[in-house]
């Protein structure tokens, strides 16, 4: 483990596996969207209430968080050479990602509770 949290082969594999999952998930969501009879808030909430959909959406959120982290980290490693600026950008970005992740899980949990 280093400053970059993940390094070398592991992030590369995670990036590819998450990319495949994201692609499959988007196809599934597009299929649900276009085959839905009603497109409204309650229909969407009902869709999320389905345990299968809650699970695949939860995995989607984790996948996209990792995917975004590795992508952003790559950009920073390529272009930002000052170590302090690099740490600052990575810290801000990891804060934004964790915050977004928690927010999405709150939404997912509420959709199950309500």
């Amino acid at each position: 483990m280093s400053l970059y949290v993940l390094e070398g082969l592991r992030p590369w594999v995670i990036q590819r596996v998450s990319a495949v999952y994201l692609a499959l998930f988007f196809i599934y969501v597009a299929y649900c969207y276009f085959s839905a009879e009603v497109i409204a808030y309650h229909a969407w909430k009902g869709w999320l209430y389905n345990p299968f959909n809650t699970t695949v959406t939860g995995i989607f959120v984790i996948a996209i968080l990792f995917h975004a982290w590795i992508g952003m980290r790559d950009v920073v490693l390529d272009y930002v050479h000052n170590i302090m600026i690099r740490i600052f950008i990575l810290a801000v970005f990891i804060g934004v990602l964790i915050g977004s992740g928690l927010w999405v899980f709150r939404i997912l949990l509420l959709s199950v509770v309500a």
């Binding site: 280093s2 390094e7 070398g8 082969l9 992030p11 980290r73 490693l77 390529d78």
Partner: protein, 232 residues
């Protein structure tokens, strides 16, 4: 035929500039290197560039030709748009005119241990390979280290001291694939980390420019596959 050539002599010039040259009576099929030698002989003896074999084997005359890296000796003038713009290979320091300092490039090459490592006692006969084992080295051993690929790679431009670059990684792959080498595990271990290998984003400029028609991106992919199967 018109040429625009990058000139810089750090001893006399404050900054680089582009100089125009014109050659007449250029025969069809003439290679760029022949034209540069004519300019040097007939018009300007201060023009500096490296060259040696003149037939794409030594890899000395790598330069940026109309925006694309290549070897002057195997680039036909017929294929070039005029004026032919010639610059040194990008991304490495210029020593003079078209001559670049290749130290960083060689440093990365040395870092991949470009030689066979055999820990067993040396056998009395040669280390033999089957034709199939030998075939695995095709497309890897032919590299002439002209640096056209590494100096066309944006990842190498941004991190030339940390990212090994396509040429060195092609060589890494050449020894990882070699059935006679006994340093397989250590070679893969050495390429771990965020920079050495994994700055490659499969941009594939290296494949585009390689004068020997090699495919460093594919070689890098082979190394990654080996790393994945080793970790499983």
């Amino acid at each position: 035929m018109k040429f625009k050539i990058y000139r810089y002599n750090p001893e006399t010039d404050k900054k680089p500039y582009v100089q125009d040259y014109e050659l007449d009576k250029v025969e069809p099929g003439t290679m760029l290197l022949a034209a540069l030698l004519r300019i040097k002989d007939e018009q300007d003896q201060t023009l500096s560039f490296r060259r040696s074999c003149g037939e794409g084997v030594c890899g000395s005359d790598g330069m940026n030709i109309n925006g694309t890296n290549g070897l002057a000796c195997v680039t036909s003038l017929d294929s070039l748009k005029q004026p032919v713009e010639i610059r040194p290979l990008p991304g490495l320091p210029v020593i003079r005119d078209l001559i670049i300092d290749m130290e960083q490039f060689y440093k990365q090459y040395r870092a991949v241990k470009p030689y066979l490592v055999v820990n067993d006692p040396m056998p009395e006969v040669e280390l033999l390979q089957t034709p199939e084992q030998r075939e695995k080295l095709d497309g890897l051993y032919e590299c002439v280290l002209c640096a056209c690929c590494s100096t066309s790679c944006p990842s190498f431009w941004w991190n030339p001291d940390k990212f090994l670059g396509p040429a060195a990684l092609l060589q890494a792959s050449r020894f990882i694939e070699d059935s006679r080498d006994q340093d397989f595990e250590k070679r893969l271990e050495d390429l771990e980390g965020p920079f050495k290998l994994f700055r490659c984003h499969t941009i594939m400029n290296c494949v585009n420019v390689c004068p020997k028609g090699l495919n460093p991106t594919k070689a890098i992919g082979r190394i990654k596959n080996k790393m994945v199967s080793r970790s499983l």
